[in-house]
């Protein structure tokens, strides 16, 4: 994707806060929707082997509304993965609480689906059986009705042809689509995605982003999406939660002014570039990077210049 965008200082960008009327209207509607996920002063501390206490998350609070697409971004070490794991209930928190539909969360449960960066499909089950897993263990469905339901979800992610395949026969992108189908089949209230496309190549990742937006449009689901890719965050999110590192704190909850439906052509639109730039400044503040000249001696022949 675009890493270095040629935006000379003279180029005038709109403020990242500036919203078109229809975008502003969308956000007003979004804010009126009921709060599904309410994270209140969440803390995570742990003790290292040296006996030092490290604060991974420091009083993190935010809310996600129904059918919102919320991205969480921050420098490495900001605890964004820890945040996802705390919300999923996979780790106990040291303070604060997580409310789902107003009820406090205690331990993992099928109301919070999760998609991991490592694919975590069960290698001994076929694709279809993987999607059936949650339906059988948490909903107590019979095999036949679980199979029917699972086939519909495989249809939705476009993998019905691979129902009888085993995970090792699929590509990374296909595995992740199965993982999404498996999580959604359980009808969770929110879907937590922890850098789900981080291990994919750029082209597959772009494809998966577009698949995910299509799925999100059709399914009643609230998505909390952890990423370190700025473009990905701006492209996917309604709002972006930006975390600081050491300790992990909320820096800002930013509304993305890029209108929906999103399309890859928007990567070069002024609103997109402005939003991306704002993220860039927050996460990688412009410091003078002094590059010292390396003590190199010339090791090629005279005239053999590359620049």
């Amino acid at each position: 994707m675009i890493d270095m965008i040629e935006t000379p200082e003279t180029l005038s960008l709109p403020s990242y806060r500036e919203q078109e009327p229809r975008v502003a209207e969308r956000f007003a509607k979004l804010r009126q929707r009921p709060v599904i996920l309410d994270v209140q002063a969440l803390e995570k501390r742990f003790t290292t082997a040296d006996g030092e206490t490290v604060v991974a998350l420091d009083r993190v609070s935010f809310q996600a509304h129904r059918r919102e697409f919320l991205c969480v971004i921050g420098p490495s070490g900001c605890g964004k993965s820890t945040l996802a794991r705390l919300v999923a209930g996979l780790e106990p928190c040291s303070g604060g609480r997580v409310l789902l539909d107003g009820k406090p969360v205690d331990g993992p449960g099928s109301d919070r689906g999760m998609v991991f960066q490592g694919y975590t499909l069960f290698p001994w089950l076929t694709v279809l059986k993987n999607v059936m897993f949650g339906l059988e263990v948490s909903q107590g469905m019979s095999t036949s009705s679980a199979e029917q339901e699972a086939r519909q979800w495989l249809d939705l992610v476009g993998l019905s042809k691979f129902a009888a395949s085993y995970p090792h026969e699929l590509s990374g992108g296909m595995k992740q689509r199965v993982a999404i189908a498996r999580a959604l089949a359980n009808r969770p209230r929110i879907l937590l995605m922890d850098e789900p496309f981080g291990a994919l190549d750029a082209q597959t990742r772009a494809q998966m982003q577009s698949y995910l937006l299509q799925i999100w449009r059709e399914v009643d689901i609230t998505i909390v999406f952890i990423t370190h890719d700025l473009d990905e965050a701006v492209y996917l999110a309604d709002r972006i939660l930006i975390l600081d590192a050491h300790p992990g704190r909320v820096r800002e909850l930013m509304e993305v002014a890029v209108p929906r439906p999103r399309h890859p052509t928007q990567f070069l639109s002024p609103t997109f570039v402005a939003a991306r730039r704002h993220l860039e400044e927050l996460i990688h503040p412009p410091v003078e990077v002094a590059t010292e000249a390396l003590p190199l001696r010339r090791m090629t022949v005279v005239g053999d210049d590359v620049e």
């Binding site: 999760m114 991991f116 069960f122 001994w124 089950l125 949650g134 263990v137 995970p167 090792h168 359980n186």
Partner: protein, 351 residues
């Protein structure tokens, strides 16, 4: 062969072509056998004895006897110096190292030759006896050991409760319980099975517990976010997640059980293949001793190949090709049945 292919012999973890792998597999058997042939058939390699064909004037040898070659040659030199006739013969190996062809003959005739005494068991009877003892010992050990091992691996509380004692117990050599086993269980097969159980069980629990602990924790986490209860985690994630590795462990452990068999069969009334081998040694039929040892090896090798092949059928998610021999055979039978039905239907229609 290209130069890159030949250099890959020495590249760590370099892959092998199937042909090369097959050839090396064969070579791993051919090399030791070739070494054995050299020692047996090349007269100037080793051959410390002399099969006497003419005793000459040497008074302490008789024709047909195996005499130490060095002694004969020394006395021969003394004899020749005094103008006597030296003893002659062909160099030979000691009786405990029969030549490959002798062992091969014993291997072929081993199952057809009756025992020296009528009340002794045949080779195949002895072997079958050993196999049943191993089977029961390994089965009893596994019925308790595999579930306990998986539980120890999955539940830290269970591991804490049992593993320290098992860790202590596994250092006690199983044969040390021989006298006790006989006192409690009599002198027939029961104490032998007990020794195999004692020798296998404790290792089995620890090995399988360690294998179980190596399950990918991300799979457990994924299952939890899908709403799996602790019971589901154990039965639907841990057990299927480690079953292939446990199966491999079992193949290794079965090999250990064979080691304990030889000791176990000496306890109480000696029986099985061990008794057979000891009897042959008593009769100085060393070719049959070797043949029996080789048969044990072949039984072990064959069992392991069958188990490996069976494993590929049982765990289809490990296969790269779509179908294994088992499902292919079933499909063939299905096709044949359908074809027969079609023919029958056609016949019926014609009628």
């Amino acid at each position: 062969m290209s130069s890159s292919a030949s250099s890959s012999w020495f590249r760590p973890l370099a892959g092998l072509s199937p042909t090369r792998a097959r050839r090396l597999w064969a070579l791993s058997f051919i090399l030791p056998i070739a070494l054995w042939c050299v020692v047996s058939y090349v007269p100037f390699v080793w051959h410390p004895m002399l099969r006497v064909s003419d005793a000459g004037d040497l008074d302490w040898v008789t024709v047909g006897e195996l005499a130490p070659r060095a002694d004969v040659e020394r006395d021969n030199r003394a004899l020749v110096a005094k103008g006597g006739h030296p003893a002659v013969g062909t160099p030979a190996n000691p009786p405990f190292l029969p030549a490959p062809h002798e062992v091969a003959r014993a291997l072929v005739t081993g199952f057809t030759t009756p025992p020296f005494r009528a009340d002794e068991p045949w080779l195949h009877q002895s072997l079958w006896h050993s196999v049943t003892v191993i089977f029961w010992g390994f089965l009893i050990s596994s019925v308790v050991g595999v579930p306990l091992g998986i539980l120890c691996g999955a539940l830290p509380a269970m591991a804490r409760l049992t593993e320290p004692f098992i860790e202590f117990f596994r250092y006690l050599p199983a044969p040390a319980f021989g006298a006790l086993a006989v006192a409690v269980l009599g002198i027939e097969d029961a104490p032998k099975i007990a020794i195999i159980v004692i020798g296998t069980f404790f290792q089995q629990v620890l090995v399988i517990a360690n294998t179980t602990r190596r399950i990918d924790p991300a799979l457990l986490e994924a299952a939890q976010t899908l709403g799996a209860s602790p019971r589901h985690l154990l039965w639907r994630v841990v057990v299927p997640g480690v079953i292939t590795e446990v199966y491999t462990d079992m193949r290794v452990l079965l090999g250990w059980a064979w080691t304990y068999l030889i000791v176990a069969e000496l306890i109480g009334v000696s029986s099985g293949i061990t008794f057979f081998i000891n009897q042959q040694a008593k009769y100085r039929a060393y070719d049959r001793v070797f043949a029996s040892i080789i048969v044990i090896g072949l039984v072990g090798l064959f069992t392991d190949l069958v188990l490996a092949s069976l494993g590929r059928q049982l765990f289809p998610w490990l296969r790269t090709s779509k179908r294994g021999w088992l499902s292919q055979a079933l499909a063939r039978r299905g096709r044949a049945a359908r074809a027969a039905e079609a023919v029958a239907a056609k016949e019926a229609a014609r009628a």
